[in-house]
Symmetry: C2
Subunit: 454 residues, 2 copies
């Protein structure tokens, strides 16, 4: 039987100290240990290093600990939702160690599994690999990443039994099991506590071996960051040519494929997948089988996509934690991903996460996706607002991945990208001409002999 506490304050007693490294579960505000975070704030512990995919929002989740300046350093994949964060980071008060989302999940999983370091393709050729050892396996270069072990894990589960076995709910699982595994001491807040033996042993998500203390959360606010409802979705800048791009990309989908659609414009592609094929959509926060946005009143804070929008799950869907989700990505089990871009090079280098001089928000899962998914299609404008081409000899912005793009679809046409042979125009968009393509492309572009016109 695990120690059971009546309040989060009591559960933290004796477990927290200044200068600790704390791993906290959650993706965005979904599945965060909200009561334990409030109790951590109230504990007054200072100079904390916090490992968490995100940093909360200004007045909820880890944002509370930023308000009180209890956090010295964040290790995260994306911190774009938090103005206090930006202020403290820019003033030098707060350190930030950005880590690709899948690498972060795997670092925690490895830390919990006694693996001090592992090689990954993710971030190869980017700023995030700088200074890290590289090694070549089977002719491909990989980056050595060290695991993370935390002093304390703060975890949110749906249910626990008194032996500490945990069951998570929908996409609220995310980083929670990994934070439990990577921590020397793990405190869990749950919505429901049951007797040992209540759970079917085959349905337990995390063994009580990882759990030290349990508290039944007083209340759960579960705020929703991006409440998104069926039929009410608008994507900024949607136009007939965008629709052409989305439809054209949808033709790349084959029956039985697993695909991941990036945040924003790429999500539109889902609307144009032919009815006679089945494509299963992956959300990297832990869902295979993403369904449409929910009807009003059916939204569920525990069921979001990687853009933090409320979604539904289709029949045949499954949930999993973030390490498993990115194992699918990194291991090549996702067939296709559609992403936006700032710049793409002639040989498929991609820049889509960072503009020097702007506040860094982090790569989220983009570096993992481009390094792992079998085919990367970029959906973007051909030309930037300043008139310069976004398709160029060398990206000037920091890379998301090197030689990762297979196809680009812009308002001018469809381009195959080969890491050795470069760019080939295979199809012209309606109203575009070869001359226009050549003029607006910042690198050599071959024209396919069987160029398709529209």
């Amino acid at each position: 039987m695990k120690p059971i506490f009546q309040s989060a304050d009591e559960a933290l007693k004796g477990a927290v100290a200044d200068g600790m490294t704390i791993a906290a579960g959650g993706f965005g505000l979904c599945g965060i240990p909200e009561n334990l975070i409030v109790a951590l704030r109230d504990s007054g512990a200072k100079n904390l290093t916090v490992v968490s995919n995100n940093a909360g929002v200004d007045n909820f989740g880890l944002g509370l600990l930023l308000q009180t300046r209890q956090i010295k350093k964040m290790i995260s994949s994306y911190v774009g939702e938090n103005a206090i964060f930006e202020k403290q980071f820019l003033s030098g008060e707060l350190e930030l160690e950005l880590t690709p989302q899948g690498t972060l999940a795997e670092k925690l999983r490895a830390g919990g599994a006694g693996i001090p370091a592992f090689y990954t393709r993710t971030a190869y050729g980017t700023l995030m690999a700088e200074g890290k050892p590289l090694e070549t396996f089977d002719g491909r270069e990989y980056v050595l990443e060290k695991s993370i072990v935390a002093d304390l894990g703060l975890v949110k589960a749906w249910k626990a039994d008194k032996a500490g076995n945990l069951i998570f709910r929908k996409t609220a699982r995310n980083f929670n099991p990994l934070c439990a595994k990577a921590a020397r001491m793990c405190i869990v807040e749950v919505e429901e506590l049951v007797e040992s033996g209540t759970f079917e042993p085959d349905q337990i998500h995390l063994s009580g071996a990882y759990v030290d203390r349990i508290v039944v959360g007083g209340k759960f606010e579960k705020p929703i960051e991006q409440r998104t409802l069926a039929g009410k979705v608008t994507v900024k800048g949607f136009s007939p040519i965008r629709e052409w791009q989305a439809k054209r990309i949808a033709q790349e989908f084959k029956d039985g494929m697993y695909a991941n659609l990036g945040i924003g414009m790429p999500t539109l592609v889902a609307n144009y997948i032919p009815d006679n094929i089945t494509v299963t959509l992956h959300a990297e926060n832990g869902l295979m089988g993403v369904g449409p946005f929910p009807e009003e009143g059916r939204e569920d804070a525990d069921l979001i996509n990687a853009g933090k929008q409320t979604v539904t799950a289709l029949p045949g869907s499954s949930y999993f934690d973030s390490a498993e989700s990115f194992a699918m990505v990194r291991g090549g089990h996702i067939d296709l991903s559609v992403l936006g871009a700032m710049q793409v090079s002639e040989f498929g280098d991609l820049a889509n996460w960072m503009i020097p001089g702007s506040m860094i928000k982090g790569p989220g899962g983009a570096m993992d996706l481009v390094s792992g998914v079998k085919k990367i299609i970029i959906m973007m404008d051909h030309v930037a607002k300043d008139g310069s081409s976004k398709v160029m000899k060398e990206c000037s912005l920091p890379l998301t991945g090197k030689n990762v793009v297979s196809m680009i679809v812009t308002e001018l046409g469809v381009f195959n990208v080969d890491p050795k042979l470069g760019l080939t125009l295979i199809e012209l968009a309606p109203g575009a001409s070869v001359e226009q393509v050549v003029a607006q492309t910042g690198c050599p572009v071959k024209i396919a002999t069987n160029l398709k016109l529209n």
Copy 2:
């Protein structure tokens, strides 16, 4: 919807070729894809490399493919149950790459997760680390292990839905999800096939993203290797002094501990754990919460321990795959393990897996356990049959682990072992004397000032 086949022969059609690497699930005969293995034999494919924890028995499982000489090489952790194996190995017909069980599980998991190599403490200082790169992290040395990717995965699951999502049953899960993940093509045999949407998405063990073909198995023999029933267990060589050893070791258990008991004599210790404490027993084949041996008629081929004996599961138990099981071990989440030994050195080196000149059976999970579990207690005879001490300056047999033993309990007494300070006698067994201990120990032994007598 995945392709569904009516027979294992059809399911394999076009998927098998000579010289392939095939990863096959199962632990012992538990959870093996028995129908697919028969079909693989009947396919006639030759020169196969088979990755599987074990090699079946002579007339069942992978043993069938040894009979027909279709296997060129086995990558396994333990091959001790198979006489044909031994014969072919000794004649040089069959190659064998022995791999510690947890490393094997992690190699498959890594292969499926796009991780080409990882560091582990397992096998450090042993024959199995020879020729492999070593690296020091936080002052401790680790071995670099490369992942495994297979051409074909043969997997047994309990149930599948038509989207390929899988649910496994009890300890028949073991290596199956890992073989699915590590394979470029995965064929699954199931006992039951249901419509998509039947499974609760939170209860799916493996996403259909890993599955290519499904066959509903014609019949399942599920032979039991070690049918073991309550009240009928005899351990060879049990005696009053053995009982003293077991009782003494049981005193090391504290309330709330998680422990792993080695095969044979160490299992006896479970009988002496005080009634007023709760110790949860881990079986490395995928069960936390091992219960007593079953009553006659209640034995279940899908529920065995690491010794392949039929067991039961206690309330609050949970099942998991072999990678997760050894993540618990390697990550230090198991508090205590009791193991037998052939030799232990003054500074805690352990030899308990291999006698040169005898047929090599493999380390199974022993190397993983000794490198990962917090405290290793050895239960053994002080002196070998030839009269030589089993406690010695340097082990002469190949090591299972270096500086891994914390305590030795023999018929002469209880010894603390420190990796730097060496051996200290802290307690004398009934009838033993300090003189006897000194005379029968092959290395210096300090006598505790507060030596306990019995």
